[in-house]
């Protein structure tokens, strides 16, 4: 027989209680950062290793599937070489791995040459923001690796964004296409200043909005935009993208335009974090 006399709290009271608890959490985590950091770090101890592991498994599987394709081709073409196949397969997988590594290292090296002034750390992208409203992602380096909040992140020779939260073994990067991001930029050829701000609507078309260009500025379609010296978070001279579609604003004072970023934000595997902060440069120059 079922026990019906057991006392249970009606679930609507539990709901109300938990809702209040959530509201309390929102207030507490909004007001005190150490509390949030403590809770986040304890959760990260479990989740981040799993995310890293899943990433490794994904890469491993991709590697294996490449090898299998190669294997099938060889089997069709060289039936008489079946005895040698294992050997070839083993060699092949190593070669594919090395080839990928070589290409990636070459890319990173090329990047290095462009921004050789700044010290950098390479990091792997391990996960992304779960919803479609914002554009943030997690990298596998944290405060243990010397990452700090507001460090700039670059990839494919262009600006990706900056670090907005640092955990022990991970950090969260907010990209420049994120709706709340603003970057102060200047044209490489004419040094006109403008503001590059992420926009939800344009993000899907692959553009970022550029505003506050002076009406008299000689800026034209196809000009390179770099981060400017004015910005207090971004280091100067990092390529952001190419300007296009310049239009006059109604107020006869400013122009606005679209910017095509050099970074492909939908396909990011590895990024470089510049371990120098804008503040430290300013301190050096003032001393």
């Amino acid at each position: 027989m079922r026990k019906r006399t057991k006392f249970t709290i009606p679930s609507k009271y539990i709901l109300a209680f938990l809702s209040c608890a959530c509201a309390g959490l929102i207030v507490v985590s909004f007001l005190s950062e150490p509390f949030g950091t403590f809770v986040k770090d304890s959760a990260a101890k479990i989740v981040i290793p799993v995310q890293k592991g899943v990433n490794h498994v994904g890469l491993w599987l991709a590697d294996k599937s490449d090898t299998l394709k190669e294997y099938a081709r060889l089997q069709d073409e060289n039936k008489q070489l079946k005895e040698k196949l294992d050997e070839i397969q083993a060699q092949n997988s190593i070669l594919i791995q090395q080839q990928n590594e070589l290409e990636k290292l070459r890319e990173l090296y090329e990047l290095d040459n462009i921004y050789s002034d700044y010290p950098k750390v390479a990091a792997r992208v391990i996960s992304a923001q779960p919803d479609n409203w914002f554009s943030e992602f997690t990298i596998d380096k944290g405060s243990e690796d010397g990452i700090q909040v507001d460090m700039n992140v670059i990839a494919d020779a262009g600006l990706v964004g900056r670090v907005t939260y640092v955990g022990k073994n991970y950090s969260i990067v907010t990209t420049i296409i994120n709706d709340e991001s603003n970057v102060s930029a200047k044209s490489a050829s004419t040094s006109d200043n403008c503001i590059v701000s992420g926009d939800m609507k344009l993000m899907n078309e692959g553009y970022i909005r550029v505003s506050n260009i002076n009406q008299d500025a000689a800026i034209k379609d196809g000009d390179m935009l770099l981060t400017s010296y004015i910005s207090d978070k971004y280091l100067p001279g990092i390529l952001i993208g190419y300007i296009t579609n310049i239009t006059d604003d109604g107020n006869k004072l400013t122009k606005s335009a679209y910017l095509m970023p050099v970074v492909d934000f939908s396909q990011m595997e590895e990024v470089l974090v510049i371990t120098q902060l804008k503040d430290s440069i300013e301190e050096e120059t003032s001393e």
């Binding site: 679930s11 709901l15 959530c22 309390g24 909004f30 959760a43 990433n55 396909q267």
Partner: protein, 182 residues
């Protein structure tokens, strides 16, 4: 006990899929909201209490890593209330029919995204609701609805298996739900 462990594991796995494989599951710049679909499925199959607890846990997990502006509790409060409300439908409908849960998931995805928009965009003075509906809410709604068909089948299949496992050894052949028809 077993079902609690399975549910916790499901939440964790869906979170990992949603975050680690977001690039792979994204079609046309829109990824489905798997976590929301999972919470709705749990709420619809198991009732309001499990739906509420799972929504709370899942929301908290998302908030800890990707909370809006570093704030913890926002997604938790949304998903928890969602799980509770969907759980209310458990008492009204049979969980064998696939149409109603999918419809509920589609509607709740729309409501969830609307509330999310209100909190994160509208409060900053961004009034482009129409265009956001066009580029995010509507595609995500359709995609989530499509994925939820398979997800619901899977969760339902799991729940039947778990029930069989838990009832093993007992001589009960009739489910508690059928008591009232006797």
């Amino acid at each position: 006990m077993l079902r609690n462990i399975v549910m916790a594991l499901l939440i964790f796995i869906v979170f990992i899929i949603q975050t680690c494989f977001k690039q792979e599951i994204t079609i046309g710049d829109v990824a489905p909201n798997l976590m929301l679909a999972l919470i709705c499925c749990i709420g619809f199959i198991y009732g309001k209490k499990p739906g509420m607890y799972c929504g709370f846990a899942a929301g908290l997990l998302i908030d800890l890593f990707y909370g809006y502006g570093g704030v913890i509790g926002l997604t938790a409060i949304l998903l928890m209330n969602l799980g509770y409300v969907i759980g209310l439908f458990n008492e009204i409908f049979y969980s064998d029919d696939i149409c109603i849960p999918v419809l509920l998931i589609v509607v709740s995805d729309l409501i969830y995204n609307f509330l999310y928009y209100c909190i994160t965009f509208l409060l900053r003075g961004d009034l482009n609701l129409a265009s956001y509906f066009q580029i995010i809410m509507f595609p995500e709604m359709i995609y989530t609805g499509f994925v939820s068909v398979f997800l619901y089948w899977f969760i339902k299949f799991l729940s039947v298996k778990i029930e069989k496992f838990e009832k093993r050894g007992e001589d009960k052949l009739v489910k508690g739900n059928f008591d009232k028809f006797d």
